[in-house]
């Protein structure tokens, strides 16, 4: 197996619409419809979890563990969700999500040609993201 620790990345807008999906070589690569459906489902589950919470102040699901992958989710205070699907026990995923959030504020939100809440098609975001994911793999290599 290659060094791939991260299988895929999703960004969901505050209404549950999928605005970014990148697959990094997972076996279950999805087509557009499936990825849209999954995004909207995750959006709802995230909200349901807040209702399920026995104490107030729950902000949703941060981590979902399956027997063969982990899903780490970060939701910004503005309601945008970023989540990565990665190999079980992959470390530093919170940091990675935060870095991706910062890239989003730089190369998506400062781009005059990006329309808010719409799918992200920004070359510079892709380039910088690829570098970060690459670096992350390198960091994992160095363990």
């Amino acid at each position: 197996m290659a060094l791939v620790a991260i299988y895929s990345l999703f960004i969901i807008n505050k209404s549950g619409g999928l605005i970014y999906y990148k697959d990094y070589g997972s076996a279950g690569r999805m087509d557009t419809n499936d990825s849209l459906r999954l995004a909207s489902l995750w959006h709802s589950m995230h909200a349901i979890s807040q209702q399920l919470s026995p104490t107030p102040g729950c902000t949703g699901i941060d981590l979902l563990q399956a027997h063969n992958f982990d899903l780490h989710c970060f939701q910004s205070l503005t309601g945008t969700k970023f989540f990565v699907v990665c190999e079980t026990g992959a470390p530093n995923m919170e940091m990675l999500l935060k870095v991706i959030y910062e890239l989003y504020t730089d190369f998506v939100l400062k781009n005059p040609f990006y329309e808010m809440e719409m799918p992200i098609r920004c070359e510079l975001f892709d380039l910088n993201l690829a570098q970060v994911i690459q670096k992350d793999r390198v960091a994992l290599l160095g363990r």
Binding site: G16, A47, I48, T78, M95, E102, Y104, T105, L109
Partner: protein
């Protein structure tokens, strides 16, 4: 890389971000205002025409005018800039409007403009307050000519605050009460919390 940490101080925050000469910012803003003034003249003509039509249309035409005012530009910037602020300042959810106002004054203004604002004049309910700016990089080199005495030159800033707060579920009204360009002794804007929009749950039926 260090783990997520406590919010940085305003100075540390400003020191940690990339910076540019304020003059580039000031002069670019000046160029935007000049363009707006030129374009708005035409829009006002359009508005006069639309004025005759039904109310909804008039509202629409007013909306158009608003689209082109610095306040709208500011609002638009606010809706985008808030994420950067949250991403880079490490602040988490504020407990109330008071804390929010403090965070904007001490960290928000500092992180973007390198200046601090003072929060003052709270009302009894804790829902409206003033930001007083010590320094305002927007206005360097600026003097309002006679033809533009009615111009709210700094509306960009009030728009930014309104837009940013709306993204974190706070509807506000922001107005300038003092403006040195108009002869006052300080820059003071009044921020009034209209309502805090509760978070919506996507699985609920629409009411």
């Amino acid at each position: 890389m260090p783990p997520p940490t406590a919010p940085k101080s305003g100075d540390a925050l400003f020191a940690s971000v990339d910076r540019v000469n304020a003059e580039l910012f000031t002069l670019t803003y000046g160029a935007i205002v000049r363009q707006l003034l030129t374009d708005l003249e035409e829009v006002e003509e359009v508005n006069k025409q639309l004025d005759q039509i039904r109310d909804a249309r008039v509202e629409y035409s007013n909306g158009l005018a608003d689209l082109r005012s610095p306040k709208f530009l500011g609002y638009n910037i606010g809706t985008r800039l808030v994420d950067e602020f949250l991403a880079k300042s490490n602040v988490s959810r504020c407990v109330d409007f008071k804390e929010t106002a403090d965070v904007i004054a001490k960290l928000g203004f500092k992180m973007f403009l390198g200046v601090t604002a003072t929060v003052t004049n709270w009302d009894a309910e804790g829902t409206s307050c003033s930001f007083v700016l010590e320094d305002n990089p927007l206005v360097d080199f600026v003097e309002l000519p006679d033809t533009c005495q009615g111009l709210q030159y700094c509306n960009l800033l009030s728009g930014v605050i309104r837009g940013a707060l709306e993204m974190v579920s706070m509807k506000t009204e922001v107005t300038w009460v003092r403006d040195m360009l108009r002869g006052d002794d300080a820059y003071e804007m009044r921020v009034k919390l209209i309502k805090q929009v509760p978070e919506e749950y996507p699985y609920k039926d629409d009411d």
